[in-house]
């Protein structure tokens, strides 16, 4: 697997976020917020009855993209913010781009800009990740030990 700065990570998408999955997640997380499972409450909050997907699951879509790309145990760091919510019925697409490739001990790592976009084009999650690369051949870019290049600072 050869990875270069500027390479796009293959996107990962979900055609439709469903309320059934939100309810499962709310139960497992013991998340009491009714905006994830009570449509009447969501109506009263001005959300037109649309349930709000849990933020960790939005981050989970980005994790899925990274794991499909670099392997199921690849994630070393995920740091994200949430500029907009994802609602039930939305489609979502996770994307990413390599911003640095570097070594740490015997591991080869890539720092990546990552995001999650809704089907209306708005950005729901944005941030960065560090992933450990599988056998990736020669490193094609240099950076410091944290993968930080001048353009990241």
């Amino acid at each position: 697997m050869k990875v270069e700065v500027g390479a796009r990570i293959p996107s990962w998408g979900l055609e439709r976020v469903t309320p059934e999955r939100m309810k499962t997640v709310a139960a497992i997380l013991r998340d009491p917020n009714p905006i994830h499972w009570d449509r009447q409450f969501a109506t009263e909050r001005g959300l037109k009855g649309r349930l709000v997907n849990q933020s960790p699951i939005n981050l989970g879509y980005i994790a899925n993209m990274l794991m499909e790309w670099a392997g199921p145990a690849c994630i070393r760091r995920l740091r994200v913010e949430f500029p907009a919510p994802v609602f039930d019925g939305d489609g979502v697409t996770a994307g990413g781009e390599v911003t640095a490739v570097f070594s740490e001990g015997r591991s080869r790592l890539a720092r990546c800009a990552v995001w999650l976009d809704r089907s209306d084009g708005s950005r729901a999650v944005e941030g960065w990740a560090v992933v450990e690369l599988p056998d990736c051949g020669p490193i094609s870019s240099t950076a410091d030990s944290h993968g930080v290049q001048a353009s990241d600072q």
């Binding site: 917020n33 994790a63 794991m67 995920l78 949430f82």
Partner: protein, 147 residues
């Protein structure tokens, strides 16, 4: 708004009880499926567990964190950021030890609008050898609207 900035500043340094957590296979299967992912190989747990496992393992619940920061309601809390640092992937049926607490608080007053208290939590996840598995930091915003 009944809670003062001083009351919230006093939370900085608060430590959670701490404790342990084991991810059950059923829990991993359901949560992994809820992300739309195919099952992960072997006993690997989906990284999304880094949200609730540290909280539960530290001996608190989301509802208790809301109450600790005097949330006006369950729906008055929004996420600012998550930062998950992972040394080793999480696995099913492994006992993890957790310790953590509240590390920061800041208050922002929006002109002619609500007050927002940002509270930062940090929890370390260790294996039974006390080797660090992950460190999670997250900041939640608590919105205070005048009644």
């Amino acid at each position: 708004m009944a809670v003062s900035e001083t009351d919230l500043q006093a939370l900085v340094g608060h430590r959670f009880p701490g404790g342990t957590y084991r991810i059950a296979h059923w829990e991993n299967a359901l949560l992994t499926e809820a992300t739309g992912s195919r099952p992960l190989p072997g006993d690997l747990a989906h990284p999304v567990h880094l949200f609730h496992v540290p909280i539960a393992g530290a001996g608190v619940t989301i509802a208790e964190l809301f109450a600790l920061a005097h949330a006006d309601s369950d729906a008055s809390v929004t996420i600012d950021y998550y930062d998950w640092e992972v040394s080793k992937p999480l696995r099913e049926s492994t006992t993890y030890l957790m310790r953590g607490g509240i590390t920061e608080h800041s208050r922002k007053c929006i002109e002619a609008g609500p007050v927002v208290d940002s509270v930062t939590f940090r929890i370390e996840v260790m294996d039974e050898s006390a080797d660090e598995v992950a460190r999670v930091t997250f900041r939640w915003n608590f919105w205070r609207f005048a009644s």
